[in-house]
């Protein structure tokens, strides 16, 4: 049973202030925001890695190979002459493998997003609807029953509501 403390903030700077203090004390924090606050939150939470690009690249290579195999193998196995062109004909190989490269790149990126971001999520996770509209929220994992301390820091920094979320 992990308890999460959710503090609602109106101002981003208050949230950053509280977050810095909590992180110094060794808590695990994350944020909810209605817009991407990546630039502001990055010095606090550290830079995240981006392994999706490896998946996209793998997808593109897979698509390219698939396109080449698709346009090369069936005509060779079931040859039907057409138009005086050879069976092993270069232009469709180029064009169709270009398309399949992009298709598989997109599909593998999609798979990567689903894998890495954890969406779709079927469990109920800590959330306040106000964080989707106009406020920001600071989520602190509270394994050690330090609710009073966390609440004190948040309220000092300027939080609106602070409450516990059990799940």
């Amino acid at each position: 049973m992990v308890e999460t403390v959710i503090g609602q903030f109106e101002d981003l700077e208050n949230l950053l202030h509280a977050g810095r203090q909590l992180k110094e004390r060794g808590y695990q924090i994350s944020t909810l925001s209605p817009v991407s606050i990546h630039e502001q939150i990055e010095p606090l939470l550290g830079e995240k890695k981006n392994p999706i690009r490896y998946l996209t690249f793998t997808g593109a290579i897979t698509g390219f190979v698939f396109g080449i195999l698709l346009t090369t193998i069936p005509p060779v196995l079931y040859p039907l002459p057409r138009g005086g062109r050879p069976i092993f004909f270069i232009p469709p190989i180029v064009i169709l493998s270009y398309e399949t490269t992009i298709l598989f790149g997109v599909l593998f990126t999609l798979v990567g997003f689903v894998l890495f971001s954890g969406l779709p999520s079927f469990k109920r996770k800590p959330y306040i609807p106000e964080a989707m509209v106009g406020s920001y929220a600071l989520l602190v994992e509270n394994p050690a029953e330090k609710y009073k301390e966390i609440e004190k820091i948040m309220v000092e920094a300027g939080a609106g509501k602070v409450h516990r979320d059990e799940n």
């Binding site: 109106e10 101002d11 981003l12 700077e13 994350s30 944020t31 909810l32 925001s33 209605p34 817009v35 991407s36 606050i37 990546h38 939150i41 939470l45 995240k48 981006n50 999706i52 690009r53 996209t56 698709l70 346009t71 069936p74 005509p75 079931y78 039907l80 057409r82 138009g83 062109r85 004909f89 469709p92 190989i93 064009i95 169709l96 270009y98 398309e99 399949t100 992009i102 298709l103 790149g105 997109v106 599909l107 990126t109 999609l110 990567g112 997003f113 890495f116 971001s117 954890g118 969406l119 779709p120 996770k125 800590p126 959330y127 964080a131 989707m132 509209v133 106009g134 406020s135 989520l139």
Partner: protein, 456 residues
């Protein structure tokens, strides 16, 4: 820090809100309201377009399926007519979303934020309409699955050397990619809508939003994946319309076999798509009361793009005519003379030049660019002109092929005109449904535009 767009300043100044939260709430409210509060005008428009779709497209098409392609005005040399013109036209319109969404995302242009969602939707729906037209033009469309390269028990594979097979791959990839692109950009907005609705709608949006909460983790991954989608979809859009142009350019018909066709069609596509966007956002602005979000400055920016594209389009047209004339190839001379000097095509050609090359030059003037009425008129003219351009490529070239004994004119029949009308009704219907069930202006992007400015 990104520079917010001009209209956001106006939004903030006019809104009299002095806190970021209230401003964000207003944005949220405004946009979710477009989905929940629809007046009787909306239902009337939706009903009319659905009725038009059924009466003008579905019923004549079923009649054509039962009776045969002979109901059209097609004949032996002119075997491609309005159906193919419409197909190329709708694929052309679809390039708007890709441009506005993907290219402007990569270049971090701020004025795309309020309009890119509807542009992406326009892309997806026009690709759907174009795909529908493939079925309409085929002689035996119930066998369409033979065009898909799947292993089967008859040991039959498709002909990968055929330009139509390139089409199948290109349009399939484009449809998939633009759907994914549209969906993934909308996930945070669907979550915003999820929080505001109740009942059966809440279930639908909860499923669609995939449990989005807005954590920094999720924003990070969304941004990364979205960047890759944008980067991949731009070369795809260029290749799709090039491949559609190669249906014509890989033949040896004199009016079709031009090397300029690939760039010509792509430029024409972006041109007609951007003109379509202007029409669409003007309608959205009026009917959804988005005056604060879609401002005359948006029209200004897209109009500047239209001027540039108009000049490129004019140049390529002149190129095509001049090189055909210079080559003095007897077959091309016949087609050129037929297209440029013989009525009725000569009148259509002059109308096309007027609508595509002359009127858009008015957009050089700042007053015209900022005026919404004039923008809409000019963009409607551009769309008509681009449809005429496709018609003037296909119909005269096939009517004057190599052997003069087989020359025969083409005139569309009632069923082709009806189905063309039905396609516009279909597109309108899809777009109206989109406006109702999907956030048509991107909530989080507009908020991002505002919020960076307000820092106490």
């Amino acid at each position: 820090m990104k520079t917010p767009s001009v209209q956001v300043n106006r939004l903030i100044m006019e809104s009299k809100e002095n806190s970021q939260r209230a401003l964000y709430e207003k944005v949220n409210q405004d946009i979710v309201d477009t989905m929940t509060q629809s007046g009787s005008h909306y239902y009337l428009a939706l009903g009319l377009s659905f009725f038009g779709f059924i009466v003008f497209w579905i019923i004549p098409w079923i009649y054509q399926l039962i009776t045969g392609q002979g109901l059209t005005g097609l004949n032996t040399p002119s075997v491609w007519g309005i159906y193919l013109v419409n197909f190329v036209f709708w694929i052309g319109i679809s390039h708007s979303g890709t441009l506005l969404s993907a290219i402007l995302f990569i270049t971090e242009t701020p004025w795309r934020r309020a309009i890119y969602r509807s542009a992406e939707a326009m892309t997806f729906f026009s690709v759907l309409t174009a795909a529908f037209f493939i079925f309409v033009h085929m002689g035996r469309p119930w066998n369409f699955y033979w065009l898909v390269p799947l292993p089967n028990f008859r040991y039959l594979w498709v002909n990968f050397s055929s330009p139509l097979m390139f089409d199948v791959f290109a349009i399939g990839t484009y449809m998939t990619s633009s759907a994914i692109f549209l969906y993934f950009g909308s996930i945070p907005d669907l979550a915003a809508v999820r929080d505001r609705v109740t009942g059966w709608r809440k279930t639908i949006y909860t499923t669609l939003a995939l449990g989005w909460r807005g954590t920094d983790f999720e924003w990070h991954w969304l941004f990364r994946a979205y960047t890759f989608f944008a980067v991949l979809i731009v070369p795809l859009a260029v290749s799709v319309h090039s491949i559609v142009s190669w249906d014509f350019a890989l033949s040896n018909v004199a009016g079709f076999a031009e090397t300029i066709f690939a760039p010509y069609f792509v430029v024409g596509a972006v041109y007609s798509g951007s003109a379509g966007i202007i029409t669409l956002i003007a309608i959205l602005r009026k009917t959804l009361k988005m005056e604060k979000y879609i401002t005359p400055d948006h029209f200004n920016k897209v109009n500047m793009l239209l001027v540039a594209l108009s000049l490129i389009w004019t140049y390529i047209n002149i190129l095509e005519i001049m090189t055909s004339y210079y080559a003095n190839n007897i077959f091309e001379n016949d087609i050129l003379a037929y297209r440029l000097w013989t009525p009725p095509y000569s009148y259509l050609f002059r109308l096309m030049i007027l609508l595509n090359s002359v009127f858009p030059l008015l957009l050089i003037f700042k007053k015209v660019r900022f005026s919404i009425t004039l923008s809409v008129l000019i963009s409607l003219g551009i769309n008509v002109g681009m449809w005429l351009e496709r018609y003037l490529i296909i119909a005269p070239s096939l009517s004057r092929k190599f052997l003069p004994y087989m020359w025969h004119n083409y005139f569309p029949s009632w069923i082709e005109i009806s189905i063309t009308l039905g396609s516009f009704c279909f597109f309108t219907m899809l777009f109206l449904l989109f406006v109702k069930f999907w956030p048509s202006v991107s909530i989080y992007e507009v908020k991002e535009d505002c919020g960076i400015l307000l820092k106490k």
